[in-house]
């Protein structure tokens, strides 16, 4: 149905009386202090960006203190201990509290508008991600004031960061603080991926998506696979610190390089997670500024896919100096060079687009030029660092400090600031100051080069990274002086942008402006309800293809001109060809995501300082809020069809793979599975590097009998779930509940037997890397048993209350999918733990 555009406009004028007022009413945002309960992505996105900019300023202040310390050799403005905290916090804040959040925030703000959706599918999830990040991030930052800030570097290499060499709380703040901010990032990624795949406007096939949607889709996928390694790594290091379970201690069957593999398996994709969305913004802005469609659309999509893929194959280039064989380094050297090819391809597409058009010479364009200058230089030094012998010299020196700041500032900050000037009118209805913007861009460009270009030379003159002072007489003085001056110049440039925002940026209600004459949907007239009606998209640049589109949309002549179901809603379309499938009813403002987010932050932070009562309270608040929010998340289907215009009538409920909820469940399991895959990697990695045997001969393997019995228990549990699923369509609700309960019993029996297989041996998790990994694997199953218990309990209560039936079954289906996944994981875990038997 409806994969072709309608012959005439779907809805006629005049629109019925009251339709517009009802639409306004359901989307009306809360006022006063209840403004905190907002869940609308456009509102949350704005706060999210604001919070990220706050952390940019805070992280920047740390950098200015460091630059002041380094202005002359032997300076004593700060001591070594504070300096080590400063550089650790600067890196951590910029990467985890600014860079990743700001790209997700921009996505959450712009995506609904760019894809003509009223909102993305999980507004409360976005609100939760924001609150957890904002509260948790602020508390994490304040550790610097209490001499409690982490001091192991943002890369946190053990054994320096393990219990022997970093006792105290500093490292724990990093591990727990950053650990849960990653969870917030994943929540954002789920919203973004499912949002892009399922809430595009009719007709916007994958091939017609604005390039930014492609960038965010790829980046969402990268977060899903890229963050799990570091989530696991932080958990393992915390286990090692808190309980002395060895994972990274060489003398106990661990390996410090395991951390480096896991960290950079995240850390390198993370660079592209930061860069690709910015590249997507650049593609959008370049086309508009040149007033001509982007040249090489498909090539750019392929280039971004290639970047995303290759970025997972070059983490070892952070480890060229670890003494690995030259031959194995060669592969990663080649991959690191290869990733320059898609970047170059995009650069040439942009330049070609600029050549073809008459470019509007305004602030966003100047920032884009700054982006070219800074990013291309950073890319070229990146190729240099991919050259193994050269890296042996440049690695861990200020040359790398220069390189990474060129790449990140050029590849992310300049495009984002270009974007601030470009998209600000979309929110406030008017442009920022052209005069201030031009000055800011010029000063920032001078500042960034004055700060970071001399660092290349300082590095080559022998200045290593992460030093609180340096010796005089090696020619470093002048370059450090220049860098310090440059840092303040750069900060002044950023200050002008912030001042401009302060003076000239006020979110407006209704906005109808397109100052750069762009062709993409976000420039349709916007209000709190987003756009009045949702057009059928036939072109990559719909506003250029149909200049009267804004008037038609705003008059309500396209799809869904009011509220069909009487609540907030948007159209769900099929993931590839964007055929309309159903009207998704969206949740409204609520305190629950705020409480859940704050509760989560409190739980993790109180756990760090071992305030157990507060931690438990935080966990309860978070859990109860999340359960209450989930309780409201599967409204009963009305059974009716809703006319959205053009002869299209859509239901308000769908199940199976048509459901947006199914997609988010699948994405969540990919995250879960990636974490588990990293755990398996840990197991086999330690096996290959441990010379003392894995496990050593003094240790036993898990009991074979209990392991087999545990696997059988998983099988029984799955069988019970299967039967439960067959009973549901037959409306035999008692049997559904009974088999579900039996399935849950099976889970706990399986977990108990898996644990028994370890407890009845001489394995103790503190003894050896094998034992710690085995116990962690079983503990992971225990965590899932708890999760399944919550899900089963939730499902059973709803079953009992008649809130699940053969039609309204999304809750049941989600539980069922998770069940099968956990069973597969549980059996695989048993096999892996026992696999050393095969080698005997």
């Amino acid at each position: 149905m409806s994969s072709r555009p309608p012959d005439e406009l779907p809805n006629t004028l005049p629109r019925p009386a009251g339709e517009f007022e009802r639409l306004q009413a359901v989307w009306k945002r809360p006022r006063g202090w209840r403004v905190l309960t907002q869940v609308n992505n456009t509102a949350i996105g704005l706060w999210y960006i604001g919070a990220a900019l706050l952390f940019l300023v805070l992280g920047g202040i740390l950098a200015l203190i460091m630059r002041t310390q380094l202005v002359v050799p032997g300076n004593d403005l700060v001591d070594y201990d504070l300096y080590n905290q400063l550089f650790t916090m600067h890196g951590s804040v910029m990467m985890f509290l600014f860079a990743v959040p700001v790209i997700e925030a921009i996505g959450i703000l712009l995506l609904p508008a760019m894809q003509g959706a009223r909102d993305l599918p999980f507004p409360r999830l976005s609100a939760y991600a924001f609150w957890a990040y904002f509260v948790g991030g602020l508390v994490f930052f304040t550790t610097i004031f209490f001499d409690l800030a982490p001091d192991g570097g943002w890369f946190m290499y053990p054994p320096l960061t393990s219990y022997e060499f970093s006792p105290g709380l500093r490292t724990d703040f990093w591990l727990l603080g950053i650990g849960f901010i990653e969870i917030s990032a994943i929540a954002g990624a789920i919203e973004i991926v499912v949002g892009i795949l399922r809430t595009r406007p009719p007709g916007m096939t994958l091939d017609k998506m604005p390039i930014y949607l492609w960038a965010m889709l790829i980046v969402g996928a990268m977060i899903i696979f890229g963050f799990p390694p570091v989530i696991l790594a932080t958990a393992l290091l915390e286990l090692e610190r808190a309980f002395h379970w060895p994972f990274f201690l060489a003398e106990k069957g661990g390996d410090p390089l395991l951390w480096q593999h896991l960290f950079w398996l995240f850390g390198h994709p993370d660079v592209y997670i930061i860069f690709l969305p910015a590249a997507g913004l650049v593609s959008m802005m370049v086309a508009t500024m040149a007033q001509t469609p982007l040249i090489g659309y498909r090539w750019i999509v392929v280039a971004m896919l290639a970047t995303g893929t290759i970025s997972f194959a070059l983490w070892v280039h952070h480890m060229f100096a670890t003494g690995m064989p030259h031959l194995s380094l060669s592969f990663f050297s080649a991959a690191s060079m290869a990733v320059a090819i898609p970047a170059g391809l995009q650069v040439f597409s942009w330049i070609a687009t600029l050549w073809r058009g008459n470019v509007q010479r305004t602030t966003p364009t100047y920032f884009l030029l700054g982006f070219f200058g800074v990013f291309v230089l950073g890319g070229l030094t990146g190729v240099m660092l991919a050259v193994v012998p050269y890296d042996w010299q440049a690695h861990d020196t200020y040359f790398v400090v220069a390189h990474l700041h060129y790449v990140l500032i050029g590849g992310m900050l300049f495009p984002v600031f270009a974007g601030i000037y470009y998209w600000a009118p979309l929110i406030s209805g008017r442009q920022l100051s052209e005069r201030m913007g031009t000055w800011a861009c010029t000063i920032m460009f001078i500042g960034v080069n004055l700060t970071f270009f001399p660092m290349h030379i300082a590095g080559l003159l022998g200045m290593p990274r992460r030093v609180w002072t340096y010796a005089d007489g090696y020619g470093l003085e002048i370059y450090n002086l220049l860098s310090t001056v440059g840092a303040f110049v750069f900060a002044a440039g950023i200050g002008i942008v912030l001042l401009d925002l302060l003076l000239h940026f006020r979110p407006a209600g209704k906005v109808n402006t397109n100052p750069w004459r762009a062709g993409s949907l976000e420039w349709l007239p916007q209000d709190e309800y987003a756009i009045r009606s949702i057009p059928f998209v036939t072109n990559r640049d719909p506003l250029w293809a149909n200049p009267s589109l804004p008037e038609e949309v705003d008059a309500g002549q396209h799809y869904l001109p009011g509220t069909a179901t009487g609540v907030r809603e948007t159209i769900v379309t099929s993931p590839i060809d964007a055929r309309p499938q159903y009207v998704l009813r969206l949740p409204g403002s609520s305190w629950l995501p705020v409480l859940a987010g704050v509760g989560t932050a409190v739980f993790f932070l109180a756990l760090t300082v071992k305030w157990m009562v507060i931690a438990v309270l935080g966990a309860i608040v978070a859990l109860v809020s999340i359960l209450m929010w989930l309780w409201q998340s599967d409204p009963a289907p009305s059974g009716k069809l809703f006319d959205i215009g053009g002869g299209l009538s859509l239901p308000d409920y769908m199940t199976g793979s048509n459901s947006h909820s199914w997609w988010s469940m699948v994405v969540l399991m990919l995250v879960d599975g990636s974490i588990f895959a990293c755990l398996i990697f840990t197991f086999f990695y330690l096996w290959t590097v441990t010379l003392s045997g894995f496990p050593p001969e003094s240790l036993e393997l898990p009991l074979i009998g209990s392991s087999v019995a545990a696997a059988l228990a998983w099988a029984v549990s799955v069988a019970a779930m299967y039967v439960s699923n067959r009973m549901l369509p037959q409306k035999r609700m008692g049997a559904v509940g009974l088999t579900l309960t039996a399935a849950l019993a099976g889970v706990w029996i399986a977990f108990g037997l898996s644990l028994h297989a370890l407890l009845e041996t001489n394995l103790q998790p503190q003894l050896h890397g094998y034992a710690s990994t085995a116990y962690t694997t079983v503990a992971w199953q225990g965590l899932h048993a708890v999760l399944l218990t919550l899900m089963a309990g939730f499902t059973l209560v709803r079953l009992w209350l008649g809130m699940i039936d053969p039609v309204r079954r999304v809750v049941f289906d989600n539980t069922r999918i998770m069940w099968y996944y956990c069973a597969a994981q549980g059996v695989l875990a048993l096999l892996v733990m026992s696999s050393p038997r095969l080698a005997m």
């Binding site: 201690l249 670890t322 090819i341 050549w355 291309v376 010299q393």
Partner: protein, 332 residues
């Protein structure tokens, strides 16, 4: 610190691995600069010139695809050749190594020279233990300075007893990490006599910034004589003033952490001091070594290098401190 020593990638010692990498670096800087200027010129022209019809396919396939693929392929082969050359000491020309990949030129077998000198370097927070292997004889344990002959390749065997460190002598070679549970290796060679600074390049906690040492290269005969003298136990104090220093050393806690061969001092948690007077620096490349800095270091170790494991010894009288510093300085 005085500055006559080289610690720069850009000023490599003659015939060293660093010299080979420097040739590679020059190619990278020149190539990078040309590409940068061309790309920026194209971008600026695109912004400021009037619209024109362009060959989109040509731009993308030519500039975006073919150009980087060709350039990077050549670069990759060049870099692999240099990397292999660094493993096989004996070549000093990066271009020659590259051409040999295509069968051009003389691909001699590059086996290491006979009589490879093996030196164990152990990273510690925040100093270096240095042990010289002597075939058939007991190894010589020293600290915080490496000497090597100019006509023999040296293999450094790198390890650590605490956290990860990285050994880097910029004028001599690239860096290699020192990782718990592993030993790594680094070949050093140069034909140039001189003093070269080396540093810890991997962040190793508190005083990572103050963890350096000097590598002194000298002719083989000088080196052999030096090593022989370093193998001998410390000299007895010859005059009463030095004897006062000797006594002060043992009245304090010094001997609990330091070894001075030929005396009862057999501690091992701090650097060996048997010939500390012959070293160029104190506190792992932090201070120049003379009697004044020695006294300052003993009395103010926690002021010079806060957080290091050596306490400031405040119990000595002025005379004792001077005598102790003089005695230690006399241990050449």
């Amino acid at each position: 610190m005085e500055s006559s020593h080289s610690a720069s990638v850009l000023h490599p010692a003659s015939d060293s691995g660093a010299a080979l990498i420097d040739q590679l670096g020059t190619a990278l800087y020149v190539g990078g600069a040309i590409i940068f200027v061309v790309v920026m010129a194209l971008a600026i022209y695109g912004v400021f010139a009037k619209a024109r019809a362009i060959n989109a396919r040509g731009w993308i396939l030519g500039g975006g695809l073919a150009f980087p693929i060709v350039t990077l392929t050549v670069l990759l082969m060049y870099s692999l050749a240099v990397g292999n050359g660094l493993n096989a000491i004996g070549s000093s020309n990066a271009l020659q190594l590259f051409l040999e990949c295509f069968g051009i030129g003389d691909a001699r077998e590059r086996t290491p020279a006979d009589g490879l000198l093996r030196v164990h370097v152990v990273g510690k927070q925040w100093w270096w233990e240095v042990r010289y292997e002597q075939p058939g004889r007991q190894e010589v344990i020293l600290a915080n300075e490496i000497r090597m002959p100019t006509d023999r390749a040296v293999e450094l065997v790198l390890s650590t007893t605490d956290v990860i460190h990285s050994f880097w002598a910029p004028s001599l070679a690239g860096k290699v990490d020192m990782i718990p549970g592993r030993t790594t290796r680094l070949r050093l060679q140069t034909s140039e006599e001189g003093t070269f600074r080396a540093l810890c390049a991997e962040y190793c906690g508190g005083q990572h910034a103050l963890m350096a040492l000097y590598v002194v290269t000298q002719e083989t005969t000088d080196f052999d004589a030096w090593l022989a003298s370093q193998a001998r136990p410390a000299n007895e104090p010859t005059d009463p003033f030095l004897k006062t220093g000797y006594d002060a050393f043992f009245r304090g806690e010094c001997h609990e952490c330091h070894t001075i061969r030929g005396t009862p001092a057999e501690g091992t948690s701090g650097p060996d001091l048997t010939h500390v007077g012959s070293r160029k620096s104190l506190a792992a490349g932090t201070l120049n070594n003379h009697i004044g800095t020695m006294a300052g270091w003993i009395a103010g170790a926690q002021d010079v290098k806060p957080g290091n494991k050596m306490p400031s010894s405040l119990a000595y009288s002025g005379v004792e401190l001077r005598a102790l510093s003089a005695w230690l300085g006399s241990l050449e």
